[in-house]
């Protein structure tokens, strides 16, 4: 059970003067159960990449395999694929359309041809998973706040019970509190169900403490693909492509330059605190 991208390229507006490489020879394996952060500057090809994962875009070169089958071969059930690889777009609240929240979340499972009961059960569970308050189940989705709308939209994809959940900038336009709530929910969901999560973002800070692997995209190619610590060690290269390592990386680097013998690979505040205390010889006191 894995998604494999084999030398995938994508060119927009092929055959015109505007033709542009959005993806260039991307090779990736997304195994089960990983929590992956996909990072890149605006226009680095991350949104294009995720649309390939569920077959919305077809590569102009290369192949994509889901569970060992080429997703663009004849007879491959795309609908099934899309239920297995759930894709939450940027600003997903713009896709809400039903009269109430619950019916909107039912849209996905209903399209899979499930029974009414199963559909409703799944919708209920999905809304619970995203932490949506039951009092508002039968409200119009258009009356909700931005953060709540986004939860509903994410629930709409979760209700299809995907094996892989791909979220394209799920925190765009949210305030810090809303952002943390959504990310914590996703992390909890990952913990609870063991689902594979691909989190697209342009902020290292946001995802550093959640993911166990980071893929950095630059101009349509994969620049780094490693565990967070290893990726952040390249903080100078990250800067040159318009990204940044988390702030703690900079603090640790600066401390080291000043002569404090700290390791520089801490990714979260807590880790950094422990490391600094250790270097000062004050751990455990």
């Amino acid at each position: 059970m894995a998604i494999i991208l084999d030398h995938v390229s994508h060119i927009y507006e092929k055959d015109t003067e505007m033709a542009a490489f959005a993806l260039k020879d991307v090779c990736l394996t997304i195994p089960d159960g990983q929590f992956i952060g996909l990072i890149g500057h605006t226009g680095s090809g991350k949104s294009t990449l995720v649309q390939h994962l569920n077959g919305l875009l077809a590569p102009t070169g290369g192949h994509i395999y889901f569970n060992g089958r080429d997703i663009h071969e004849d007879g491959f059930d795309k609908k099934e694929l899309r239920s297995k690889v759930g894709l939450v777009f940027q600003y997903p609240e713009h896709q809400l359309f039903e009269v109430d929240v619950f019916t909107d979340v039912c849209f996905g499972p209903k399209n899979l041809g499930l029974s009414v009961k199963e559909t409703q059960l799944r919708a209920f569970e999905a809304l619970r998973q995203v932490g949506f308050p039951e009092d508002y189940f039968y409200q119009s989705p258009f009356d909700l706040s931005g953060g709540q709308k986004r939860r509903v939209a994410i629930a709409g994809v979760l209700a299809m019970k995907p094996d892989v959940l791909v979220l394209d900038e799920p925190t765009a336009g949210l305030d810090p509190k809303g952002r943390d709530e959504i990310l914590d929910r996703i992390a909890a969901l990952k913990e609870e169900t063991g689902i594979t999560v691909v989190l697209v973002s342009h902020s290292m800070e946001d995802i550093a403490r959640y993911v166990d692997r980071i893929i950095v995209m630059n101009r349509g190619s994969v620049l780094f693909d490693d565990i967070p610590k290893a990726v952040f060690a390249h903080y100078r290269e990250l800067e040159s492509v318009g990204l940044a390592a988390p702030q703690v990386t900079y603090i640790m680097q600066a401390l080291r330059e000043k002569g404090l013998a700290v390791r520089t690979d801490a990714t979260t505040l807590e880790e950094a605190q422990r490391e600094i205390l250790r270097a000062l010889g004050r751990d455990g006191k």
Binding site: D15, T16, E17, M18, Q51, N54, L56, K79, R82, S83, G86, L87, V88, F89, P92, H94, Q95, L96, F97, F107, G108, N111, L112, F142, G156, V157, M160
Partner: protein, 269 residues
């Protein structure tokens, strides 16, 4: 998907035609379209085709790109041809059941097809090489005399430019929402007409909402910049005829004279 409709969408490149004053292109297109209906002979078409070919060449828009956009109106073209083919009275050529193809019908339908094709390519050449803003600027300026008879020229031009500006935005939005719903298992393709119409609801509702939101935002942004109609409004880049524009008018005139000459010559033979 929807991106394939290229008919008339501005094509960004650098060319002489792109640089021309929009008024020249507007007048030129109108004159060209009218000219298409003034002749009945093959030689006239040859002149019109030549003129169009030169213009396309000068515009540097790939011909393939234009033809791709033509697909959308292929049906209309076929319909015209079929009707003209069968419904023109005259000397019978072929008889199939109750339908008769006449010599005049063949002639007329061929002419009609060529005319329509030229007409569409000609007018799309204008929109392909002119940004919507420029186009409406040109229109406003050309229609300026109508202000005297109380036609709200500026408002019409503003509405047009907003409408044109929103086409690509809404198209992109449609594409996005469509993809988002497909990702949720929506099916826009299969089923009968009723099913297809019903399947459009998850697309149309968000699209309308987004259109209203955008319209609202735009209105607010315009008011925040003290927009109050055309009265006393000046332009950052007022349209001004340059040498090449007069030259273009001259070329247009030469085209018309050639056409007339060919027609007279044809009449004498």
């Amino acid at each position: 998907m929807l991106r394939d409709i290229t008919l008339g969408q501005y094509y960004q490149t650098e060319s002489l035609i792109h640089r021309l004053d929009p008024r020249v292109k507007l007048v030129g297109t109108i004159v060209y379209i009218i000219s298409l209906f003034t002749f009945q002979h093959f030689s006239g078409f040859a002149v019109a085709a030549l003129f169009l070919a030169v213009m396309i060449r000068l515009s540097r828009v790939p011909f393939r790109y234009m033809v791709k956009g033509m697909k959308a109106i292929l049906f209309l073209l076929l319909l015209t041809v079929v009707f003209n083919l069968f419904l023109t009275p005259g000397e019978p050529l072929v008889q199939i059941w109750k339908l008769t193809i006449t010599r005049e019908g063949v002639r007329l339908s061929v002419f009609m097809a060529v005319r329509l094709t030229f007409l569409i390519i000609g007018s799309s050449l204008m929109t392909l090489t002119t940004t919507p803003n420029n186009l409406t600027d040109g229109m406003e300026k050309l229609m300026n005399p109508l202000k005297k008879v109380r036609v709200p020229v500026h408002e019409i031009a503003m509405m047009m430019s907003i409408a044109l500006r929103f086409i690509p935005i809404l198209m992109e939005e449609t594409d996005k929402i469509m993809k988002a719903q497909i990702a949720r298992g929506a099916d826009f393709e299969s089923g009968n007409l009723l099913r297809k119409a019903k399947a459009m609801v998850p697309l149309l509702v968000p699209l309308f909402i987004s259109a209203f939101r955008r319209a609202n935002d735009l209105a607010m942004a315009m008011e925040a910049r003290c927009y109050q109609g055309g009265e006393g409004r000046t332009k950052m880049k007022p349209l001004q005829y340059k040498k090449r524009d007069y030259l273009a008018y001259a070329v247009l005139l030469i085209y018309l004279v050639t056409l007339a000459a060919v027609r007279i010559a044809e009449g004498m033979i």
